[in-house]
Amino acid sequence: MNVLLKKYFQIFKTSFNQEFAYRLSFVMWRVRNVLQVLVALFLWDTIFSGDRNELFGYDRNKILTYVLGLVFVKAFVLSARSQDVAGEIARGEIINNLLKPVDYFKYWLTRDVSSKVLNLVFAVGEFFLLYLIFKPPFYFQENIFQIFLFSVSICLAIFIYFSILFIVNTIPFWAPELAWGGHFLITVIMVEFLSGIFFPLDILPDKFLNILNFTPFPYLIFFPLQIYLGKISGFSAIKGIFVCVSWVLILLFLMKFVWQKGLKVYQVYGR
């Protein structure tokens, strides 16, 4: 095997083992995810239980698919280990990794991928469990091109989230006491509300959605799911992908920039 490949495969493996060291807390985290999905499933199911066929442009099938689809898309996009970096910086532990002959970003991207793989394995299991128990209607996208665009948008979303996380991670370079606060505000509150986890964003007023579409947040969850559901297709899908790519480039550049700045002011705390 190629030396470089070996290097990152070993990082992947070690990170995977580490997640398994906390089996119980991982399982609890997945249980929490399932409960969230259950709540959303019941809520939307109740809303559509009358003779209402369509709401906000969603029929029962599509809205329940949206909710179930969240399980996958969240596992793909939002499961990450690199949120630990802020703590590493604040505690000064980052020095161990800074002095290793390995690219720091690629190191954490690899660890993120290992977290994503683990979460995906569970997500598949949960999906089938939910599917078997509740037999919800599920919309299967059959258009190959739509599925292709969906995969592309997921990949881009992974990079958007990675760079957002890393930009937030740099806060402790300047203010070590804000390591957790920054994450809570930006990656928990902002991402949860603005990415479409709580509800599909197109139930919001058009004006608001139009503004939101210029931010990177909808492209994390909402946009890929819309493509899967076929609600965004053709020209508007391509346009969306283009906006995604622009955000990836902007954020990655910004990430490298603040990271370099941060390292320069960093005083390697903890003695």
Binding site: K100, P101, Q267
Partner: protein, 332 residues
Amino acid sequence: MRASVNNTVVVNGLVKNFEVTEKEPGFLGGMKSLVSPQKKTVQALKSISFNVESGELIGFIGPNGAGKTTTLKILSGLLYPTSGFVQVLGFEPWRRDQKFLKQISLVMGQKNQLWWDLPARDTFELNKAIYEIPDTEYRENLSELVKILEVEDLLGTQVRRLSLGQRMRMELIAALLHKPKVLFLDEPTIGLDVLAQQKIRDFIYDYNKKYSATIILTSHNMDDLIDLARRVIIINKGKILFDGKLEDIISKFAKDKIIRVYLDKSVDVKRFSEIGEIRKYNFPLVVISVPREVSAVAAAELLQNFPVRDLTIEEEPVEDIIRRVFKEDYIK
């Protein structure tokens, strides 16, 4: 300054300033420092210069906040120097060139590189991949290190379950698997009991001899340096006070000699104070310190006028001298 071929480390006129934000206590103070931060510049290193030759084992000694760790962090590439020239193995450390990083290692007594929830073996395997160590070399290095440090049975134990001493030994293994040419050790014996300290010390000594690796260590544990380092750099408040052989500290700083007298019968202690400063009186032993120049005269006088059974003249212990150097530096 031109670097000679033999110089692994070249430091010339190195200055490091830190910007520190002053924060008043309490919530209001915190808010205030957020709105209008009161910045203060702290000079951690005030233009220091020294060279280290390949294969040397040198010790940095100084009280807390002297600048020892800052120096180490700059040499290993963690901190950017404010000004001055720094070169390690021909590289500028702060660039953190991968070729440079593959040849060095930094061990900090208070920072773990081992993965806390996994057995130490997992971290070793990871380092093997990251440092691209070939299989056979890895196996040889590991089995040798594990044997010398006596941790054969602990490789599969979760790191969090290891004792501090065992963990420190594992940290050393993790840092040495890739056979670094330069090893930086920051307080390697901190928090360890005397026996564990000795084990680490013996290992460092042997490692330096066997692989002629350049080792730079900091410590405020005097024993570390007296046991290990042939060359010592005394640093305080960002300035180098002494750089040279341990023995030379004595000729440079020792003003007194120590006379130990064993008496035949008890004598009034006060009579000794005419000769020198009484350090200790515990019949039959009296310890007096006298200025170097007059030590012979003092000894003669003691032999003549006191019931002396035995008498020795000794140098002041190194740790006492160093302690005094720091104290005097504080007074200045």
